[in-house]
Each structure stands twice: as structure tokens, then as C-alpha cells.
């Protein structure tokens, strides 16, 4: 390996996976998921083990954790935080409301999941999202962060892939064309059975 190769490989060596700093924003959440996000920082889960710091500052953060669905009032805030973040960055939708709008999906005042406003990289469902799932989601987000860094080094456009954590918890996505369903999980089961 020549010296130049070594320099090139050391430049590709990435520390972005060792130090994910997060910013957490409560869009239109009921606070259930927010409590779980903060619970991840407590001694029981202690995400600081992985170098995670809850910065609260978009300019310093690498990972954007959003809880709750989006409405007209929080839409500009989400967009602004996202735009203030510095590349490479990833967005994690925490909880079913952030993923798809959840039970509020068909409310007249709700726009749906976070992906209606900004590109989402990782979907972590749950009501409320469990800290274990959240940590799993952040670890997946770190992988995407690294992929984005690689793309930046190669001069390629930064990819925005979509991942879903916990495949067994399949997120049911309603579209406006769907039949108006009764409520919640029963409705989606009924819809599947009829298909």
C-alpha cells in the first residue's frame, strides 16, 4: 500500500458513526414518544454509551428525531430545523404518528407523517415508541449517515433511502383513496382480510 493510498483510506475512515449528536423535535405529538426519547438518556438505557449527545441545536446535530404527526403549524418549524442542519444528516420518524400520521391520519387538521414535509430516512413505529426500538432506529440511522458521508466524498448526490425498523410491526399506510375505515388497528385487519 503506497503512502498516497494510506492517506486516501485514512480520509475515508469515518468517525461519524462514533459520535451521533441528536436533535429532538416534538411536532404534533401527544408527548408519549417524547418521554420515551428522553428515557433513552436515563441510566437504564444510557445512549451516551454510543456517543449520543442530545444537543438541541440543529447546527450541531447529525440526527433529527421527530415525534408526532405534522400539521400546518409545525410544518415550517420542521422545515427550518431540517434546513439548518449541516450535511451529512438523517431524519428518524419516531412513533407511528411521525411515520404515517397514526390514528390522527384522517383528521382534517393533520397532514400525515413527517415524510409529507421532509425526507425521512428511518421509520420507527410504536405507540409510544419503545426506547429499545428507538436505539435500534438510531443505530440504523448511523449506518445511513455513514453512507451519506461516503456519497459526499465521492461527489455523488446524498441518497435518502427509507428504512423501516421492526418489520414485524408493519406500518399500515392509508391513502386518501381508501374506503373510510372505522378506527385504529381493527380497521386495518379488516381491510387485509377482505383483500
Amino acid at each position: 500500500m503506497s503512502v498516497m493510498d494510506k492517506i486516501a483510506s485514512s480520509k475515508r475512515e469515518s468517525f461519524i458513526t462514533n459520535s451521533p449528536w441528536i436533535i429532538h423535535y416534538d411536532a404534533a405529538s401527544c408527548n408519549g414518544c417524547d418521554i420515551e426519547v428522553l428515557a433513552s438518556l436515563t441510566p437504564l438505557f444510557d445512549v451516551e454509551r454510543f456517543g449520543v449527545v442530545n444537543t438541541g441545536n440543529p447546527r450541531h446535530a447529525d440526527i433529527f428525531l421527530v415525534t408526532g404527526s405534522v400539521n400546518e403549524q409545525c410544518k415550517p418549524v420542521i422545515e427550518q430545523i431540517y434546513n439548518q442542519m449541516v450535511e451529512p444528516k438523517v431524519v428518524v420518524a419516531c412513533g407511528i404518528c411521525a411515520c404515517s400520521g397514526g390514528v390522527f391520519k384522517q383528521c382534517y387538521n393533520t397532514m400525515g407523517g413527517i415524510d409529507q414535509v421532509i425526507p425521512v430516512d428511518v421509520y420507527v413505529p410504536g405507540c409510544a415508541v419503545r426506547p429499545q426500538a428507538l436505539i435500534d432506529g438510531v443505530v440504523k440511522a448511523i449506518g445511513i449517515l455513514r453512507a451519506k458521508r461516503e456519497a459526499m466524498l465521492d461527489g455523488k448526490p446524498v441518497p435518502t433511502p427509507a428504512l423501516r425498523v421492526g418489520a414485524e410491526l408493519e406500518v399500515v399506510r392509508h391513502s386518501p383513496d381508501d374506503e373510510p375505515a372505522p378506527t385504529g388497528a381493527d380497521a386495518s385487519d379488516a381491510a387485509k382480510e377482505t383483500k
Partner: protein, 296 residues
């Protein structure tokens, strides 16, 4: 002796950030253990720094980066002056210059959080400056010189003559190291009222420069603590290192146990402590003469 000074200066420039980084890492682990958490790896501050260098930099103005690099250079030169045994006075003046450059650099940001953070920085400089000057006077009274190297010729450690000055320097150290009760509610804590204070609008390289400056600064202020225990006996270096370790653990403990105070309390506290300690501790020297060594 000249060669020893040059060697010590070079050692500080090279090992200063390494030591500062390790201290910062150990600080985070000890803090976590005090909160019954496991805490990050020891090298976490280094990972953070490398990560910041990988991020894009979005600056308000290029001048910001230039000013911050100047602050870093001022800190390093001040530290070299101190650790090479040259002037302690030069060291504290260059530290002040570095703080001012940092304040000017940060105030370029237009965010209200930045403005609040910058105001707070100015107040902090105002709080710790008198105590640093009194420490310089203390060195002069003890050795008859402002050179930190002259402590290496002393027969008794400075803390014997100036215990109150030492204690009030510890008070000020809490402000210098940005620890509770004199820190601000900014990020890296669970409470983030003013986001990241003065560094709110900085990212990537700019933030990395601040981080390295802070590592150097930590080593320098801990050096100030250590110098109170240095005598002509080489073994006193071990005593100084032990004292530094105990003082830093104490700082972490204070950081974790004390509630944050308002700036008024910080200002009054720092000035009262400095003035009382200075007056009481220096008054014997008016009777015994300026050079403590002559009297022992």
C-alpha cells in the same frame, strides 16, 4: 535550563490537546458514573472532534474562523509561556485575549441565543479576571518574580503562603471550566434554554477549533492549580499532579451536585471571594516584606 524550557514548551504544544482530550473523556465517564450510567468511551471527545471535521461547515462569516484560530494560537502561546517557566502574567493576558477573540468571533452570529451566550461570556471574563491577577501578584510575593519557572526554586510550596488565594482560584476555576453552578443552560445537558449559547451558529470546523482550544485551556488552568504545590524538590511534581487530580474530581462533583445560579450571584460571589481572599492573604506580606522566601 533553556533547553528544559524549550522542551517543556514543545511538550505542552504536542501533549496539551492529547491530555485535554483524555481529561474531557474521563470527565464524561466520571460524570456518568456519578449519575449511575455507564458513560461514553474514554476517547469520545476525540471521536466528536473527528466527526466535526467530517461535517460541512456553515459559517456566518469566514472572519469567525480566522478569529477562532487566533484565539487558539493565543491560548497555545500563553500556555507555552506558562509551562516553559516564562511569565505567568503573559499567560493570563494571552488567555484573556483568547477569551476576547472568542467573544468577538461568536458575536458575529445574529441569533438571540448567541447574543445571550456572548453576554454571559463577557460577564464570566469579568468574574474570573480579578482572581487571576491576584494569583499573579501572589506568585510575585512568593518568589519575587512573575515567572512561573521561579517556583521551581522555592523551598516551600506556594499553597503554604497563599492558601486563601488557592481556594478562591478553585472558585474561579469552576467558571473557567464551564461547570455548574456557573455554567449556562446550554446543549450537552438535558436542559437547553439557550440552545448552545455562544456556539449556537457554529458547525463543523469552527466548532472543532473551539473544542481544541478548550482542551488546551483545561490543561493550562489545571497547570495553575498544580503550580501552587511546586518546590525545588522534583518529587513536588507528583504532589502537584495528585492535587490536580483531586481538584478536578472535586470540580466534577460540584458540577453534578450544585444547582445553576444567576449571573448576579456569580459576579458577586467571584468578586467578594477574590477581594476578601486577596486582602486577608496578602496583608501579612505588608509586614514581612514582599519576598516570602527571604523570611522562611
Amino acid at each position: 535550563m533553556v533547553w528544559l524550557s524549550i522542551l517543556l514548551g514543545i511538550l505542552f504544544v504536542v501533549l496539551g490537546p492529547v491530555l485535554g482530550c483524555l481529561i474531557a473523556g474521563a470527565d464524561r465517564i466520571v460524570t456518568a458514573r456519578m449519575q449511575r450510567r455507564q458513560g461514553p468511551p474514554l476517547l469520545q471527545p476525540y471521536y466528536d472532534l473527528r466527526k466535526l471535521l467530517e461535517k460541512d461547515m456553515r459559517a456566518n462569516d469566514v472572519v469567525q474562523l480566522i478569529l477562532l484560530v487566533m484565539a487558539l494560537v493565543a491560548t497555545v502561546v500563553g500556555g507555552v509561556s506558562f509551562f516553559a517557566g516564562a511569565s505567568f502574567l503573559l499567560c493570563i493576558f494571552l488567555e484573556t485575549l483568547a477569551s476576547l477573540l472568542y467573544i468577538v468571533a461568536a458575536s458575529i452570529g445574529s441569533s438571540p441565543f448567541v447574543q445571550v451566550g456572548v453576554q454571559r461570556e463577557i460577564l464570566q471574563v469579568m468574574c474570573y479576571e480579578p482572581m487571576e491577577l491576584l494569583t499573579a501578584i501572589g506568585i510575585y510575593l512568593h518568589t519575587g518574580s512573575y515567572a512561573s519557572g521561579s517556583l521551581g526554586a522555592a523551598s516551600v510550596p506556594m499553597v503554604m503562603w497563599l492558601p486563601l488565594i488557592f481556594l478562591s482560584l478553585l472558585f474561579v476555576l469552576t467558571i473557567k471550566l464551564r461547570k455548574s453552578p456557573f455554567d449556562v443552560a446550554s446543549s450537552h445537558h438535558a436542559h437547553q434554554e439557550i440552545i448552545a449559547g455562544a456556539t449556537t451558529e457554529m458547525s463543523g470546523l469552527t466548532l472543532a477549533v473551539i473544542e481544541v482550544t478548550h482542551w488546551y485551556e483545561t490543561v493550562i488552568v489545571l497547570g495553575w492549580v498544580g503550580m501552587f504545590f511546586i518546590t525545588s524538590n522534583p518529587l513536588s511534581i507528583l504532589l502537584a499532579l495528585l492535587a490536580v487530580a483531586i481538584v478536578y474530581l472535586l470540580e466534577i462533583w460540584v458540577d453534578n451536585t450544585f444547582a445553576r445560579v444567576k449571573w448576579q450571584v456569580m459576579l458577586k460571589g467571584a468578586w467578594i471571594v477574590a477581594l476578601v481572599a486577596g486582602f486577608v492573604n496578602f496583608s501579612p506580606f505588608f509586614f514581612v516584606g514582599t519576598n516570602g522566601l527571604l523570611f522562611f
